[in-house]
Symmetry: C2
Subunit: 334 residues, 2 copies
């Protein structure tokens, strides 16, 4: 029988995490019982929101426990099934442990059609990141023709889909990203109308002025901090700001301070709305159906950064904070 | 013929304004022409938003010009009419100059029924401040039975109506105000469920914890700054924050800084929405009708602070920033 491995939270991070917060362990091979499936992880998703689960605080999802296995989005292959829902060879996705072999409860897993699209997309453009872009942009951002939608983290898994959806809705899409290669990708592969490399300047204000001559109607915010301050200073009346992520603040050790935003929101009748994707659980089918249709039509493209080797999960996660990924960051375990 | 007087903006304020920004002048008695009405100001409204119009900046309403007459909400008596719309003796309200006698265009004035309620209410509970509370609380705050609605500036013209509307909708109303008398008034006259005197403490956190044991579902914000930071730390999932005013920041000379709020809005799926009352112009009749009905039923009460003497308008305006008023602050000129 194959050995089993898992990755546990060894200690809670303070500030920027390093590999010492994780521990790779051997563990028992799970014993299947009636009603469950034995699965082998194939693609493991690493996502910025997981940083929040590593500390003890009030949030929309409970914190990871110390010395317990990390869990997250996984695409897995069914090895053995004691459930009528799935059979061996099926691909499934859901929240599963960072562990090679594990048991899954079919009620919390969804089948992935390996013929329709690469199974990895179930964690990205056709999974939670695509859905996050879809509902955040359409339900909160609500871009309309002729408007300008700015997306930060625009070369990330959520941001690149959010910007493309704004363009589908007839808005100009302006992306902010952190390298020349990312800017090139979102401009030339994805068709963003303008893109700004925030690492090339100390002050993105003038770049924003050039990229958004008519101001900003939608700001899809993945990053927070000083970049967002600059964008928000440029919003138009009745602007909408979906708050999707604040990655620039996730490793802060003090309470992050910044200019107060209420005066600009007030004088411009602007809306700022936090959201989490589980708010939209009853509309996931709609979202995935529409995203898949747009992909077929060539109107939504996506990128993945895939790192091979289960044991590289910690390093992959840490890479999120230095912006190493273009699009969805995944670890492949087979 | 009586002499005429006006108050002009003598200079633009920096920081906390003083009387030197205003100048009381004699001016010509207006000559009426066809289609207009000659009116005499009776009640002049002083409002925090006017501070914003005294400086040159982008906002929802153009700045006052230097050495030109200030304008604002006024209830006036028609002295002479050359219009079929009004006749001498009618009371009207609208945006008019800070000037004893002036000319009005009937298209921009509304008749005030002096038999239905004191005419001063057309500037307060049955005017723009009541409407601001009505739409901000009902359209953005949307309190429901069992929720907790916190109102800052709760003894001001907008805040006291906002809190009472939350109670009409079945929420607990918690008011924050700046004196023992104000706290007493909103608790014992208006029926707020709890009230906090923010001037009695350096840290309203513990008071808020006691007043809001189940957290905060609606925060109707009139003041901004540190008080708002404390309230917003206590919001529940899906909280709504109508941004009505930020009076604590209006006299700031530097960009006001504070803790970044996006992380708490994000993790609690909360909404923050700036608004100005003119967004709701097509629903004013609905709002005034409902507010008048609630007043008749005794469910909405109001307070006014009236200062006599046209020449006291500058002093009255400055008093807004030291919180001298209970309820609507008006200057009576007759």
């Amino acid at each position: 029988m194959e050995k089993n491995k898992r990755i546990v939270l060894a200690k809670r991070p303070e500030g920027l995490p390093d590999e010492s917060i994780f521990r790779l362990e051997e563990c028992e091979f799970p014993r299947i019982s009636e009603g469950l499936v034995l699965v082998k992880g194939v693609y493991f998703s690493v996502d910025p929101y997981m940083r929040g689960r590593m500390i003890e605080r009030r949030s929309y999802i409970p914190p990871f426990s110390l010395n317990e296995t990390i869990s997250g989005g996984v695409v897995a292959e069914v090895i053995e099934s004691r459930s009528g829902t799935f059979q061996a060879g099926d691909y499934v996705t859901g929240m599963l442990p960072w562990q090679i072999y594990s048991l899954g409860d079919p009620r919390f897993l969804r089948k992935v059609d390996a013929k329709a699209a690469p199974v990895s997309t179930a964690l990205g453009v056709l999974g939670l990141t695509g859905l996050t872009a879809y509902f955040g942009m359409l339900d909160i951002g609500r871009p309309v023709p002729g408007e300008t939608a700015v997306v930060s983290g625009a070369a990330g898994a959520v941001g690149m889909v959010a910007g493309q959806i704004a363009r589908i809705r007839g808005s100009r899409a302006v992306g902010i990203a952190g390298s020349a290669a990312k800017v090139d990708y979102i401009l030339n592969e994805l068709g963003f109308d303008a893109a700004i490399d925030y690492k090339k300047t100390d002050d993105i204000g003038p770049d924003l002025d050039r990229a958004c001559p008519d101001g900003v109607d939608v700001y899809f915010d993945n990053v927070g901090g000083g970049i967002s301050d600059e964008v928000i200073q440029r919003i138009n009346d009745n602007a909408r700001i979906p708050l999707c992520g604040q990655i620039s603040l996730y490793n802060a050790t003090d309470v992050p301070m910044g200019p107060r935003l209420q005066p600009v929101l007030l004088t411009r009748s602007a809306l700022m709305q936090g959201f989490i994707i589980s708010n939209y659980a009853d509309r996931f089918q709609e979202g995935i159906g529409q995203l898949a249709a747009w992909m077929k039509e060539g109107r939504i493209k996506y990128a993945e950064t895939i790192i091979d080797g289960f044991e590289n999960l910690p390093r992959a996660f840490l890479g999120l904070f230095s912006g190493e990924n273009l699009g969805k960051l995944l670890v492949r375990a087979f």
